[in-house]
């Protein structure tokens, strides 16, 4: 029916043009005009004359909307407008299906799982995950497995584990079992607030401002704790966007973000390409272009997701960029999610500036900024699974607190962390020592690569070197890049992250995570890379 209406609308619209062209075909088209003209001139003409075209236009809109929704079916939008149509379409289909249902005697094939699971399982693992798996199955060890794969793909910080270990050995029992001197088992065994103990929120807020060198103070009441930064990002996506909406994300971005955001929420990611010519810095013009393109595709953009220090490139967003981002978000009335997971892991001279520093501004702006943090990078406690949502938006906080029931932190871990983070001396030592070690590792690694003729982007934070190996790839394309990645993994036995896994727009860039190494591993890594690069040069 809508189809018919649609074609009628179309002919109404095109008719006059034909007429103006040369009245030849007018006879056939007249039929369409007649009812409208007749109606307008007659009685009550005004009402009908406006209602008919309105209705036609409305159906056209409706038709277009349905047509568009049909194509991206995995984004099962729950917008109320769409539901009745979906319902009215289904009965016929349902009846057929039910007839096909097995009678008790003839069990039909296996019971089906949900469509979204099929979608999750269908996507082949990207090289990022393939490499991670290879490196876990056959890990390099200096003594026991010298031919194993060296892991440079997992953003994990092992540089300061000795300090953490030392602290745990001394304090674990005390901090889990006792509050002060008193034994308190009910503190860890019973139900606790899903969004984290208040004491831990206070400790985390303190730690965050310590990491950010006291430039900002964080209010513990605006903190929601989750079991890792991954669920923190997912919960924010659930809170800020509906299925079928989109976030703008500057590329290259870290590979698992696709899983974190898209899998269960049905939110889409719109890439905002950054280029090597601009040192992979974000430009507002590119953001604007991506926004307009998304809108043309009919996607509603609900926010920008940035990582600062950026992961994997490692550069910091300047004060100016942060302000223009905020302006942009204000102009478009969208959110900003700032992932500051690496805030304490800076190694350059440049100073890190948190999005939170801008928020003394007006209320509307504060409500659109949300910060994600976690203890897995700066405190190198990945296994503890502690993530943080920090927001000024009360509604988002209230919703996130309720959603934390699906991902809360185990109470013994919380108690352990309360004591650890409250131990100011330990925290201060840990931060400064790990920063120093990171700095040294970074300098050595970059120098090593440079000797092989591989240049890295100048970066100031994070665990990665973002290296330009486009000189070594056979064809300047994703295919060439993946060939080199494959060679590095299988011949060189080094697992690195190819730029294409991070959706980098230029081929030939690779991320090397250097914090899982010790200093004496660096020559071995360089040696292996050199071998691969020599075969590459020979093949040319």
């Amino acid at each position: 029916m809508t189809q018919a209406l649609y074609s009628r609308t179309r002919s109404t619209e095109t008719e006059p043009v034909e007429k103006a062209g040369g009245g030849g075909g007018g006879g056939a088209a007249m039929r369409v005009i007649v009812p409208l003209q007749g109606v307008v001139q007659g009685r009550g003409g005004l009402v009908l004359g406006s209602i008919i075209p309105c209705a036609l236009f409305y159906f056209l809109q409706f038709y277009l909307k349905r047509h568009r929704k049909g194509t991206d079916d995995q984004s099962n939008s729950n917008s109320s407008g769409q539901n009745p149509t979906a319902r009215s379409e289904l009965p016929g289909l349902r009846r057929n299906l039910s007839r096909g249902l097995p009678s008790p005697r003839s069990p039909r094939g296996p019971v089906s799982v949900s469509g979204r699971v099929n979608w999750i399982m269908k996507g082949a693992d990207s090289p990022y995950y393939v490499g991670l798996r290879r490196a876990t199955e056959d890990p390099y060890d200096e003594l026991s497995n010298p031919n194993g794969v060296i892991q440079l793909g997992l953003a994990e910080n092992k540089l300061s584990l000795d300090l953490v270990k030392h602290w745990l050995a001394e304090n674990a029992e005390q901090s889990i079992l006792r509050k002060g001197k008193e034994l308190s088992i009910s503190r860890i065994a019973t139900y606790q607030p899903f969004d984290g103990l208040m004491e831990l929120k206070v400790a985390v807020a303190g730690f965050m401002s310590q990491v950010m060198e006291k430039a900002v103070s964080f209010n513990p009441l605006q903190v929601v704790l989750t079991a890792g930064a991954t669920p923190a990002i997912e919960i924010l996506s659930f809170c800020l966007a509906d299925a079928g909406n989109a976030f703008l994300v500057p590329t290259p971005y870290y590979p698992s973000l696709d899983r974190d955001i898209k899998w269960r929420t049905g939110v889409e990611i719109i890439h905002v390409p950054c280029r090597s010519a601009g040192n992979f810095n974000l430009s507002i013009a590119a953001l604007d272009r991506a926004f307009d393109q998304a809108k043309k595709r009919g996607l509603k953009v609900r926010g920008i997701l940035i990582s600062n220090p950026s992961n994997p490139v490692g550069n910091l967003l300047s004060r100016d960029t942060l302000y223009s981002l905020l302006d942009f978000a204000r102009e478009k009335n969208i959110h900003i999610v700032s992932n500051e997971l690496l805030a304490g892991s800076t190694h350059g001279n440049e100073e890190f500036m948190s999005m939170a520093e801008l928020l003394h501004l007006d209320d509307l702006d504060r409500k659109r900024v949300h910060i994600v943090y976690g203890l897995s990078k700066d405190l190198s406690l990945t296994g503890f699974r502690v993530g943080v949502i920090y927001s000024h938006n009360e509604e988002v906080l209230a919703a996130a607190k309720k959603l934390a029931r699906f991902s809360s932190i185990s109470a013994p871990t919380q108690c352990l962390l309360i004591s650890m983070l409250s131990d100011a001396k330990f925290v201060q030592t840990l931060i400064s020592i790990s920063r120093e070690r990171l700095q040294r590792m970074y300098a050595q690694f970059v120098a090593g690569l440079k000797k092989l003729g591989i240049e890295c982007i100048k970066s100031s934070g994070g665990f990665y070197c973002w290296a330009d190996m486009s000189g070594l790839i056979r064809s300047y394309s994703e295919k060439g890049e993946l060939e080199l990645w494959d060679k590095l993994l299988n011949i060189g036995k080094v697992n690195v992250t190819p730029g294409s896994s991070c959706h980098c727009i230029e081929p030939g860039w690779f991320g090397f995570c250097l914090t899982t190494l010790t200093e004496k591993d660096i020559p071995i890594v360089m040696d292996r890379i050199q071998k691969v690069s020599e075969t590459c040069k020979l093949n040319r």
Binding site: E13, P16, Q37, V40, L46, G49, I51, P53, F57, R94, P102, P104, P110, V111, V113, V117, I120, M121, K158, L161, K165, L168, A169, A172, E173, I176, L177, I188, T190, Y191, Q192, A227, P231, F238, L240, D242, A243, W263, R264, R330, K332, N333, I334, L381, T382, G383, R385, V386, N393, V396, A398, A400, L403, R405, S407, I409, S410, A411, P412, T413
Partner: protein, 508 residues
């Protein structure tokens, strides 16, 4: 007449058709836009003043471009998702209101004797002494790892498998079959561990059903299911009513009826969600009933999720039968059976947030493993539990003592209620009893039930879960959890209930 003129004039003139349709179309379109914009901020807490929106509307028709409008900015607060909008409001269900109230002003015999007594939270505090003793003896060793050395620190601090370490899965499998009396053995590779049973249920829901699909759930059911199953997955729960005349035992005919009715509405049913032992009633599903359910599921080609989180908290003489036992011993299609378990109830460690999915379906397991990235258990906790669950002597002692203490508490509590003329449904498991207080409600209906609940909470200062929060079809039933109490508290509770009962009888 003034309004008629432009349109009529335009229609009769050249190009009249275009304008004649465009103008009303545009007006209608803007009206729609206006309504839409006007509606959405309204559902948030701070609607913009109407004058501002009319101003925007005027602006809009002049420029007639949406992007222009947006770039002008200052259009009120930034929008949040519809999910967040619907859940950020304060709790409405009496279940959560009561829980909040009781945690704000908790009863304490000495510190706060006028506080609210918590009978709404199914938490077991009867055996904390045993756990405390174990922790004191073993905590240090278990966290550090027995060998010490480098291996053990990176085992806690660095990335672990998101679906749980193999050691803990093995320990859990052993613990589970011990709890079920050794009748079933569980395969560690079919276990996926999550941060609590809540995410375990949600993850299964994501794996088994799509947005708009439904699960059949026998009522009365645990009030949290409404959040766990529905919020983020968009799945619906269809109640299948059980009645007091059958002692709230599920009947297949009721299930069939609900199935057919739902299908008529055009909703696709993907499974049945059972809790066995049932929460809040506390009865068990018999082996025959489980077989019937499996037949039903095969006939309709749907899944079964069996929430067996109270499997070890049995105090009756009836024997608990896990659905895993039934599919093992008879020839049923295993791939549609999924079990949810957790350590919050039987080991009384809800603060640890440890849940698990046990499934026979490879696809579901693979997907669930991937989804655990959103809810994995912290490594120190995992390590602690590996030692605790592997300490068979401790577990054996704990289980025997725990069952005995639950039974004692239950006997005392039920006897107390009977003294007030309140009868409980027959039950053999759980940390609660399901009490018929319909004699105390002022009117036989949900309203009357909630009035009584309110009186209990605000006058008598006792938080119980009303049946309506569990979607019970008969008014007047209440769930009381007794495992958070001390024996000395029981007379206090009974005294408080008696006062409410007396005001009722004196009035009538």
């Amino acid at each position: 007449m003034r309004l008629v003129v432009p349109l009529q004039g335009v229609v009769q003139g050249r190009g009249g058709l275009i304008f004649g349709s465009l103008i009303p179309c545009a007006l209608f379109y803007f009206l729609q836009l206006y309504l839409k914009r006007h509606r959405s901020p309204n559902s948030q807490s701070n609607p913009p003043s109407p004058s501002a929106s009319t101003q925007n509307l005027a602006e809009m028709s002049r420029t007639s471009s949406r992007s222009n409008l947006l770039s002008r900015g200052s259009i009120g607060p930034v929008r949040i998702s519809s999910l967040a909008t619907s859940i950020c409001k304060p709790n409405e269900s009496p279940y959560y209101i009561g829980l909040d109230k009781a945690s704000e002003d908790p009863y304490d015999r000495i510190g706060n004797p006028d506080g609210v007594i918590q009978l709404g939270l199914s938490e077991n505090r009867l055996c904390f002494d045993l756990i405390e003793k174990w922790m004191l003896e073993n905590l240090n060793d278990s966290i550090r790892g027995r060998e010490g050395g480098d291996l053990s620190i990176s085992g806690i601090a660095s990335y672990q498998p998101l679906d749980g370490t193999m050691e803990l899965k093995m320990a859990m499998a052993g613990f589970l079959s011990r709890i079920m009396g050794g009748a079933v053995s569980f395969e560690p590779s079919q276990i996926v561990l999550t941060a609590g049973a809540t995410p375990a249920i949600e993850t299964l829901c994501f794996c088994l059903a799509d947005h708009g699909n439904a699960f059949l759930v026998p009522t009365p059911y645990y009030p949290g299911f409404d959040r766990d199953m529905r919020w983020r997955t968009g799945v619906e729960l269809i109640p299948v009513h059980c009645r007091s005349t059958d002692n709230f035992v599920l009947s297949i005919s009721a299930l069939d009826q609900a199935f057919n009715q739902t299908r008529k509405h055009g909703t696709k049913i993907r499974g049945i969600l059972l809790s066995n032992p049932a929460n809040p009633v506390g009865n068990l599903l018999s082996r025959e009933m489980l077989c019937d359910l499996l037949d039903f599921a095969r006939e309709k080609n749907i899944h079964i999720i069996s929430d067996e989180i109270f499997a070890g908290s049995i105090y009756g003489n009836e024997e608990f039968v896990s659905i895993a036992d039934v599919v093992d011993s008879e020839d049923f299609d295993k791939s549609r059976v999924h079990i949810v378990y957790g350590l919050s109830k039987d080991l009384s460690l809800p603060g640890f947030r440890v849940g698990m999915i046990y499934s026979f379906n490879e696809n579901v397991l693979a997907a669930a493993r991937k989804l655990t990235r959103f809810s994995s258990i912290s490594a120190p906790t995992q390590r602690l539990l590996v030692s605790m669950l592997s300490d068979t002597r401790f577990i054996e002692e704990y289980m025997v003592t725990n069952k005995k203490r639950i039974r004692n508490m239950r006997d005392l509590f039920v006897a107390g209620l009977e003294g007030l003329g309140i009868r409980c449904a027959d039950s053999s498991a759980g940390l609660y009893c399901w009490a018929d207080m319909s004699k105390l409600i002022p009117s036989y209906g949900e309203k009357g039930e909630l009035e009584l609940w309110d009186k209990l909470l605000n006058v008598a200062k006792i938080n119980m879960t009303p049946g309506s929060a569990c979607h019970c079809i008969e008014p007047g039933w209440f769930r009381c959890c007794f495992t958070t109490l001390d024996k000395e508290d029981i007379p206090v509770v009974m005294e408080r209930i008696r006062k409410v009962a007396d005001t009722r009888t004196s009035r009538s």
